[in-house]
């Protein structure tokens, strides 16, 4: 997607002012612990994504980007903490500048800010995984399967896939849940209909037989068929509006009996037992304040996850990172899963109580209707109140929260007020006292009531059918999605597994070239087993060493990135990711990066100068594509082994007459540079197992080697009779010898100016020629065109030439016969 040209960091983390010129190439940042390497990594991540993962997310406690991102001396002035990166977008052939301040991390200043550029930058922002630290590396390897699945899913942006899966599942569940009250409604409508019909089985033949018997009483023709639209009272005269509606005596008495039965059911021992059981469950939840609060929070979080869509808080308008917020809230929801399970269990137990209450409510509604038809109408105040009571109780039990109120309502469910029984008895007496209707009136009343209940039943059946169709459809959609996503993910995991094994096999080809691995997705988890020398598949942490695990982490990351970004994997930051990997395998990692990811710009940090050399030797980075931090101070931030900076600093010390500091810096710098020279020139140095070389052990061999190389170059030119070249080399050789003589570096043991710590005795004027002599000497090892140190090529086997990185200096070392 991008390549980074340069970065300028101001007052950010431990850095005061630093510019690094990557030149769109891979680049290494080397330095001891605490010299500011990770500050550069953080700055890169911040500039590209607006975030610093080291300062945010899980386990970061009270540390925050806004508060702790600025340099400690600028912690109250976040606007001063700025990072600017110059970036190239290869696909658009555009150079852009991104500038961010910690005052408002989300608002990047992008120039030019055209839509295509912004689209690419949004993609970059959405891929914070371009920055990989060792801590993150290990997450992929030795995490638990559930945690690993989360990490890999986050990397592959599967949170969106998962969110849709959960959403579809929830819709299907909700639709299925809607069927429960509709089932109850059908059952009630059927019972009412059967009661009115006076039969126990709802069959077309039986309904027609009874209905036709009633119709015959009214001399109405028999119905031939019973379809969805058939009216049982078809052809019956419509009563005139003046004719008062009467209570259908027989039906009313049957309905009053049914109401008593429903009330008896709700006051039964079974209901009481269930109420006690559910109350006990809810009391367990409510008695633990933390859990009770969690129940509330779980509902709150779940609702929040559904509603949060904007890029800012709707209350205070503070911008937020929607992805991070959702991840954060989802983590809380996951944490409350146990609470959710208990809640669902309570809801399942409450469901039959709700069904019984609905039944009672429907029965009471029916008899209340009869009371209104009485002469004079009966008020049935208690029945009305109980109807409201049932409705409120149903709503409360459905809501479940707050738990305390639900428990109170539950306790009242089995209690039947005497007043309602009195109301029903009063109505029954009134109905019983009604005169018996004529046969024709009874038939007419029967057909009216049965038709009315038949319509209610038909309506309930229609609603149920619609809901059932929806439930089936949404479940089918959910299942299809689950199958499709499983198939795609299985394919991805298979590809990643293959790539991972191939990458890891490459860096361990010496003894694990047939290495295999298994990524096993299962129910939101991702198992990861690796082959151990053909003895079977085991978790990576079982038998492989820590170094091998680091290698696996890097390879899994690279395999995932290869799949995720494909040709757009053009930039990646590897922050000290191979800390536990030995030198040999690091060299293989260099070879791997160069071979498999030739178009990716890697920014790598390491505290190991040897690995820095490996990177150079393997061609991952060029001669100038590295910075070596030498120390760090809170006032100045990191300081680097940069020739200009060092000589200026030495000169500043000298001018201030601080010869001790000037000489100390000179010595350390010469040690650093001499090591580099010995490496480049392949100078023989007395080996030290602890790799702690002093200046006297490095610089003289480098000088001797340079002189020897010039001698060999002259011999080679002589073997070809190249007079002109011999003269040129002779001039070089003489100039170099003169510089070496002036510095007296080869008489190191007697050079009191530096070696014997006699700086206190030197005045600043005395030290000036020492500085100049060594500066000139180092210049003698450089190419006069590019200013880079000369090196011997190749870096192993017989030396063939002395050359520089720019190619201007090229001195043959091989004689004609060779």
């Amino acid at each position: 997607m991008i390549r980074v040209e340069s970065i300028t960091i101001s007052e950010f983390r431990g850095i005061r002012d630093l510019t690094l010129d990557f030149k769109e190439k891979s680049f290494a940042i080397c330095g001891p612990n605490g010299t500011g390497k990770s500050g550069v990594v953080d700055a890169l991540e911040f500039a590209l994504t607006g975030n610093v993962s080291r300062l945010s997310g899980e386990g970061r406690g009270d540390v925050s980007l806004k508060q702790h991102g600025p340099h400690v001396d600028k912690r109250n002035d976040p606007d001063k903490a700025r990072v600017t990166v110059r970036v190239t977008i290869p696909s658009l052939s555009k150079n852009i500048t991104i500038e961010r301040s910690l005052k408002n991390p989300a608002a990047a200043k992008v120039v030019p800010a055209d839509p295509a550029v912004l689209q690419v930058l949004r993609q970059v922002e959405a891929h914070p995984e371009i920055v990989l630290s060792r801590r993150e590396l290990i997450r992929y390897v030795i995490a638990t399967p559930g945690k690993r699945a989360e990490e890999v899913q986050a990397l592959l942006h599967l949170d969106q896939v998962e969110q849709v899966r959960l959403g579809l599942q929830k819709i299907a569940n909700t639709c299925e849940k809607q069927l429960i009250p509709l089932d109850t409604a059908i059952r009630q409508a059927r019972e009412n209909l059967l009661r009115a019909l006076g039969i126990y089985e709802l069959t077309k033949e039986k309904v027609l037989a009874i209905a036709n018997a009633q119709r015959a009483t009214l001399s109405l023709p028999a119905l031939i068929d019973l379809t969805e639209t058939t009216s049982l009272k078809d052809g019956m005269a419509t009563p005139s509006p003046a004719q008062p509606q009467r209570i259908p005596k027989a039906q009313a008495l049957a309905d009053i009996r049914a109401t008593r039965e429903a009330l008896a059911e709700i006051g039964s021992d079974d209901t009481m037992k269930r109420v006690v059981e559910v109350s006990a469950d809810l009391n367990v939840l409510i008695e633990d304040p933390a859990v009770a609060a969690s129940v509330k929070r779980e509902a709150f979080f779940t609702t929040g996850m559904e509603l949060v869509e904007a890029r800012a808080c709707p209350f205070c308008d503070t911008p937020w990172d929607l992805g991070e917020l959702k991840k954060h809230v989802q983590a809380k929801i996951d944490h409350l899963k146990e609470v959710s399970r208990k809640r669902r269990a309570a809801e399942t137990k409450i469901a039959p109580l709700i069904a019984t209450l609905r039944k009672v409510q429907a029965a009471i509604n029916t008899v209340v209707g009869y009371a209104a038809l009485a002469t004079p109408p009966l008020a049935l105040k208690a029945a009305h109140e109980y109807d409201v009571h049932c409705r409120t109780a149903i709503e409360r039990l459905n809501a479940l929260l707050p738990l305390a109120e639900t428990i109170t309502v539950l306790a009242n469910v089995p209690i039947i007020p005497q007043t309602i029984l009195d109301d029903i008895r009063e109505l029954e007496q009134v109905v019983a006292a009604l005169p018996e209707p004529t046969k024709q009136d009874a038939a007419r009343e029967w057909l009216v009531v049965v038709q009315e209940r038949l319509e209610i039943w038909r309506d309930a059946m229609r609603k149920h059918k619609i809901a059932k169709d929806q439930a089936l459809r949404t479940r089918q959609i959910s299942d299809i999605y689950a199958a499709a996503s499983d198939k795609v993910l299985a394919g991805i995991y298979a590809d990643v597994e293959k790539d991972f094994a191939s990458l890891y096999g490459f860096i361990n080809r010496e003894d694990e070239d047939k290495f295999k691995a298994q990524l096993i997705p299962s129910l939101g988890k991702l198992g990861f087993d690796v082959d151990f020398y053909g003895r079977g598949f085991f978790p990576p942490g079982a038998y492989h060493s820590e170094g091998h695990q680091d290698g696996m982490g890097l390879c899994l990351y690279l395999a995932l990135m290869k799949h995720l970004q494909g040709g757009n994997f053009t930039f990646s930051v590897l922050d000290d990711v191979l800390m536990s990997v030995d030198a040999g395998h690091r060299r293989e990692v260099c070879a791997l990066l160069k071979k498999e990811f030739p178009n990716t710009q890697f920014i790598m940090t390491t505290h190991d100068p040897i690995w820095l050399r490996h990177m150079r030797t393997e061609g991952i980075i060029g001669g100038r594509s590295a910075v070596h931090f030498r120390n760090w101070s809170v006032d100045y931030g990191p300081t680097r082994w940069d020739a200009r900076d060092v000589w200026t600093e030495i000169e500043d010390y000298r001018k201030e007459s601080d010869v001790r500091a000037a000489a100390s810096l000179l010595r350390h710098y010469l040690e650093y540079e001499s090591a580099e020279l010995c490496h480049r020139l392949r100078a023989p140095v007395e080996f030290r197992g602890d790799a702690q070389y002093q200046l006297g052990e490095l610089l003289p061999p480098a000088i001797t080697r340079m002189s020897e190389l010039y001698r060999r170059a002259k011999e080679a030119a002589n073997s070809r009779n190249q007079r002109e070249i011999i003269e040129q080399i002779t001039v070089r050789e003489a100039e170099f010898a003169k510089l070496a003589a002036i510095s007296k570096a080869e008489q190191w043991q007697v050079n009191v100016a530096v070696h014997y710590n006699s700086w206190d005795n030197l005045g600043k004027e005395d030290f000036a020629p020492v500085v100049k002599a060594f500066r000139d000497l180092l210049g003698g090892f450089m190419c006069s065109d590019c200013g880079e140190y000369l090196r011997v090529s190749p870096d192993r086997e017989t030396p063939e030439s002395i050359r520089c990185d720019c190619g201007k200096t090229m001195i043959n070392l091989l004689k004609k016969s060779e």
């Binding site: 997607m1 969106q160 849709v164 619609i466 809901a467 089918q476 996503s485 991805i492 494909g566 040709g567």
Partner: protein, 64 residues
């Protein structure tokens, strides 16, 4: 829907999953309207909330 030339070569895993899902829905004889609505929600509007999905799936027949 065409892939953005800028992102060409990038494996957008969610988009792959959604495309496969829509294809499977078509194979299961889902209505063209339903598939079109889900495509708009998931791939164009990039809305993944339950509410957005519900609107896409149950638009013709609201829940009873």
């Amino acid at each position: 829907m065409t892939t953005s030339p800028i992102l060409e070569g990038t494996s957008d895993v969610p988009a792959q999953v959604f495309e496969k899902f829509l294809q499977a829905l078509r194979n299961a004889s889902a209505s063209a309207e339903l598939v079109a609505r889900l495509r708009k929600t998931l791939l164009e509007d990039k809305k993944f909330t339950e509410r957005a999905l519900k609107e896409a799936i149950l638009v013709e027949e609201p829940l009873p």
